[in-house]
Subunit: 145 residues, 2 copies
DNA sequence: ATCAATAGGACTGATTAAGTTCTATATAGT
DNA sequence: ACTATATAGAACTTAATCAGTCCTATTGAT
C-alpha cells in the first residue's frame, strides 16, 4: 500500500548519484550508464526534475544537469512531489464537487490530517540523508515519540 | 502523490458508518443504501474486510457484518493494509532479487525508514478519531515535534 | 422449503504508469 | 560555418493496476 512509483524510485537513485559530485554537471547518457537504467527513462526523468526546479540544466555540447541546491536542502517530499505531483491522499481532499459521495462523507478533513503527517515524515529525510547509511534514523525516531 | 485507492476511501467510509452503531450487525444492502455506494462494491469490500479480520460476519438470514473490535482499536494503518496489502513503499523494499537494479542502489534501507515513519503516522489515527472532527489533531501535532 | 444473507472467484472495462520515439533547440569546439 | 553533443518537449505505445460487475455456492432463520 502507499507504494511510490518506480519513476520516483529511479529519480531518487539518479539524484543520489549526482549527490556524490554535487557541484559537477552530469549528462543523461553518463547517468544512465552509471545507474543501469534505460537511457530514455533517465532522459525523461532528468527533464522532469529540471522543469520542477530540482536540477539546473545546461544545453549544448559539454552541457548536462546539476543539482539546483545542496543535497541537504533537497527533501524526499520534494522529489516525490516533483515526479508524482502534489501530495493529495484522496482525490477529493482538496476541493468540493470533485467527488460524488460528498454528502454523507465526513472523511475529508481527516484525510487532510493524515496527508499532513505523511508530508512531515517525508520532509524529515533529505537527499543527503539517503546517501549516508542510517543518517536519518535519529531524526525519524524523534518523530515517532 | 501517495494517493490511496478509492476502495480504501470507500472502506473507511463504510467502517465509519458502522462505528456509529459499533455493536450491531449491518447488512451489505443496508450499508450500500446509507453510504450511496454501488451495492456490488460494498459487498466486495465487506467480504474483504471480514477476511482480513477487521469485521466479523454472520451468514444467513438476519446475518450481517459487525466491527471486530472497538473503533478506538482500529487504526487507519490497519484499514489501509487490509484493502491495499502490506505497506511497502518500494517494490524492492522487502527482499532481494525482486529488483533489477540492486547493484549500485543503496536506497533500500532508507525507503524502509520512510515506510516506517508513514506507518507510525497512520497508526496514530483510529477509526474512532475519524468519526469525531479534529479528534486526532492533537495526537498528530505531537508527532510533528 | 424458502428467503435473505455472506463467501468466493472469475470476468470486463477504465484508468494510470511505464517506457519509447521523434523533432526542435542550444552550445562548445574546430 | 559546420559538426558533434547535449537538453526540451511532446506524442505515442504498451504494460500493469484499479474499479466495478456478475455468477455460483453456502449458511441460517422463519
Ligand atoms: S469519498 Fe469523496 S468526499 Fe469522501
Ligand atoms: S531500485 Fe530496486 S533496489 Fe533500488
Amino acid at each position: 500500500m502507499l507504494r511510490i512509483s518506480k519513476l520516483t524510485d529511479y529519480a531518487t537513485l539518479l539524484l543520489m548519484h549526482m549527490a556524490r559530485a554535487p557541484f559537477e554537471t552530469h549528462s543523461a547518457r553518463g547517468l544512465a550508464q552509471r545507474s543501469g537504467l534505460p537511457p530514455p527513462v533517465v532522459a525523461k526523468l532528468l527533464k522532469l526534475l529540471a522543469r520542477e526546479g530540482l536540477l539546473t540544466s545546461q544545453r549544448g555540447a559539454a552541457g548536462g544537469y546539476g543539482l539546483a541546491r545542496a543535497p541537504e536542502r533537497i527533501s524526499m517530499a520534494q522529489i516525490l512531489a516533483a515526479v508524482e505531483g502534489p501530495l493529495a491522499v484522496t482525490e477529493c481532499a482538496l476541493g468540493r464537487g470533485v467527488c460524488d459521495m460528498e454528502k454523507g462523507c465526513a472523511t475529508r478533513p481527516h484525510w487532510q490530517l493524515i496527508g499532513h503527517a505523511l508530508q512531515v515524515a517525508l520532509d524529515a529525510v533529505s537527499l543527503a540523508d539517503m546517501t549516508v547509511p542510517r543518517a536519518a534514523t535519529v531524526r525519524l525516531q524523534r518523530l515517532e515519540k
